[in-house]
């Protein structure tokens, strides 16, 4: 027995998901401190500054757009979809990690999700918000957007159900709704905690009303648990469905490079890929800034790196398969696009960069050293974000600019307003993100407490000591 134990101690296990020595109290105070007690910190101020100024740019771009028309963008004939759709797909993709982590990993009982799910979900919401504005702005007559919804009108008309764009409307709105609910429900106990710890009356009122009178009674916990699991169940299919539907926007078209059955799986993989990349991109600076190394440990980063590797390879497989089919099908248009236009044509630079970012870079993560090297991991996650944006660029632009009739071929050049709108949404994202960091707990306190409890439990069982009681509120 003792032998075994000694052996066990000698064997170097994986880094823990929660640094040892934490109690309910320490967890709670450490996390809620970011919101309640910590003073403003210059890094937050700078980040917020960048975010809000980009947000300002965004508003300018949108007003300009609405005044003049979509012609202010670089879109032309044949390339009638440009940055707007690229960004839409990119943001939606990023929005996938959140639900994946919260829902699927929850159902799979992956305890390491606990400390990252909260801000991953928040990130999802913000990303979906950014994604949501693009289909609207991209319309020729945005003020008619409601014609895409089925509602009783005096024209006796309904949307055209065969159009993937209509499916999009439903997929994205459902996804947004469920994500919000899931996120909010998860927040309730922590909001209560904040309410109880808040000193200023306004804070008490706000957190109080948001926490819907949570008292942490056993009944509350029971309801909460079942609701949370239920929502997780609801959210799970969405993770797959949303980006599948988004991929139909292309797969349903006849355009070479779009019209392929591999799109749904390859889009979903790509989405998770970019989603986790963004989580890493946020997690690393966050834990550095607020010293959350105990909660977001190397174990988390290591796991996420593995996921990047896996999904990145799936995406790589997707690219390879496109090539193969283009060659194998003997379709002259597909052939031209994949074997000529993309690798060697007008946009070969974008294409090759994309391959580098999305396929080659993740291969580093075969090596534990690379997975553990935080700086490298972070840089790679940024590169992957760029790569995934380029992927959408390649899909939308190259396919459209050179399709069937050479007489119609034309290049696409983004304008200042294209960039302004894109950067603008990044601004919107940062703005929301920094508000979130400041006003809500970035890590699920309640769930961390559970984690502490479980850890102690196991530890106790090993040592045969009585386990600490999971306290309700900590004073």
């Amino acid at each position: 027995m003792a032998e075994l134990k000694r052996k066990a101690d000698r064997r170097p296990g994986p880094p823990p998901v929660l640094a040892p020595g934490h109690t309910f109290g320490s967890v709670t105070s450490k996390i809620s401190a970011i919101v309640l007690t910590d003073p403003y910190d210059w890094r937050w101020a700078i980040g917020m500054g960048i975010g809000s100024s980009l947000l300002l740019l965004f508003t300018v771009a949108v007003v300009h757009l609405l005044l003049h028309g979509v012609g202010v963008w670089g879109v032309n004939i044949p390339v009638m979809w440009g940055f707007a759709i690229i960004n839409f797909v990119w943001w939606i993709g990023i929005g996938h990690a959140g639900t994946l982590i919260s829902a699927i990993l929850l159902l799979l009982k992956q305890e390491w999700r606990t400390s990252i799910n909260r801000f991953a979900e928040a990130m999802t919401l913000f990303a979906v918000a950014c994604a949501g504005v693009f289909p609207l702005l991209h319309m020729g007559r945005p003020w008619k957007f409601y014609w895409l919804l089925p509602y009783p009108n005096t024209m006796a008309l309904l949307p055209q159900w065969r159009s993937p764009l209509v499916w999009d409307v439903f997929a994205v709105s459902t996804y947004a709704t469920v994500s919000v609910l899931f996120w909010y429900v998860g927040l309730i106990p922590d909001l209560a905690t904040l309410r109880d710890r808040a000193v200023s009356r306004p804070a008490q009122l706000i957190y109080g009303s948001l926490s819907l009178g949570w008292r942490g009674s056993a009944r509350h916990w029971a309801r909460y648990k079942s609701a949370y699991i239920l929502l997780a169940g609801l959210a799970t299919p969405l993770v797959v469905s949303v980006h599948t539907v988004v991929s139909f926007d292309f797969a349903a078209g006849v355009i070479p490079g779009w019209h392929t059955t591999i799109f749904p799986p390859y889009f979903v993989a790509g989405a998770i890929f970019s989603g986790f990349a963004m989580v890493v991109t946020l997690a690393v600076p966050l834990r550095a800034a607020y010293g959350l190394h105990d909660f977001i440990t190397d174990r988390h980063l290591d796991n996420m790196a593995k996921i990047l590797l896996a999904t990145g390879s799936i995406v790589g497989y997707g690219y390879a398969m496109e090539f193969f089919i283009a060659w194998y099908s003997g379709n002259p248009y597909e052939g031209f696009l994949f074997l000529d236009a993309r690798p060697f044509g007008w946009y070969h630079l974008a294409y090759r960069t994309m391959i580098f970012c999305n396929v080659l870079i993740p291969q580093l993560f075969w090596f534990p050293a690379c997975r553990r090297n935080i700086m490298l991991l972070w840089v790679c996650s940024l590169i992957v974000n760029v790569g995934m944006w380029l992927e959408r660029y390649v899909i939308v632009i190259t396919s459209l600019s050179q399709d069937f009739l050479p007489s119609s071929w034309a290049m696409y050049y983004p304008t200042f307003w294209d960039w302004a709108t894109f950067l603008g949404t990044i601004g919107l994202f940062l703005f929301l993100a920094f508000l979130f960091i400041r006003f809500l707990p970035v890590i699920a306190i309640a769930e961390m407490r559970e984690l502490v409890h479980e850890k102690d439990h196991h530890a106790a069982r090993h040592r045969g000591l009585p386990a600490a009681e999971p306290g309700g509120e900590t004073q």
């Binding site: 009108n153 005096t154 024209m155 006796a156 309410r195 109080g208 819907l212 009178g213």
Partner: protein, 219 residues
Amino acid sequence: MPQVFHPSANTLSRVVLFSLVVGPAALLGLIYLLVRSPYQTQVGVVREQPVQFSHEHHVNGLGIDCRFCHTSVETSASAGMPPTHTCMTCHSQIWSDSPMLEPVRASLRNNEPLEWNRVHDLPDFVYFHHGVHVQKGVGCVECHGRIDLMPLAHREKPLTMEWCLECHRNPEPRLRPKEDVFAMDWTPPADSELARASEPVPTNHVEVGQLTNCSICHR
């Protein structure tokens, strides 16, 4: 430490949660009603005219045929509005000094046309052809209502696309023999198929399938 909230907060929060769900729904319902209300469709709204012309008097009272003034209604897209001259054919003799008709006389005098305010007005992207409707046996009444009983003209039908489609999807019940098109008080003879509103008028040859092509009205 003191309670943050007064117990009444519970009720309040419930109300808030409830209205969050019901509020938007109610709003939508309101809009639904609004766009079908006379405010939007202008049904029954009388419009100010340069001359308070009464169809009731001229059609019902004097029994003047529609086509006397609306000359091109059987052949052209536009039914045709009577030139001042048409009014003056009678009014140079009768009521020739009525102050009410001064605008008409002025128009003839100064060769300045009268400016009527449209009552039945379709959007500019809708192309309606009076001639073919008349030829196919759609009575004036179907769209203009009992204009012959209106002292001042107003819309009786909403003229929404929904309303147009009611007939374009199922014209039979609204068709009548060509000779009765201008009869305001026509009702299908009790014994006829029309009364049962099941059969199309055999002579009119309406291709129903065609009537719901977009380009029938929009070009």
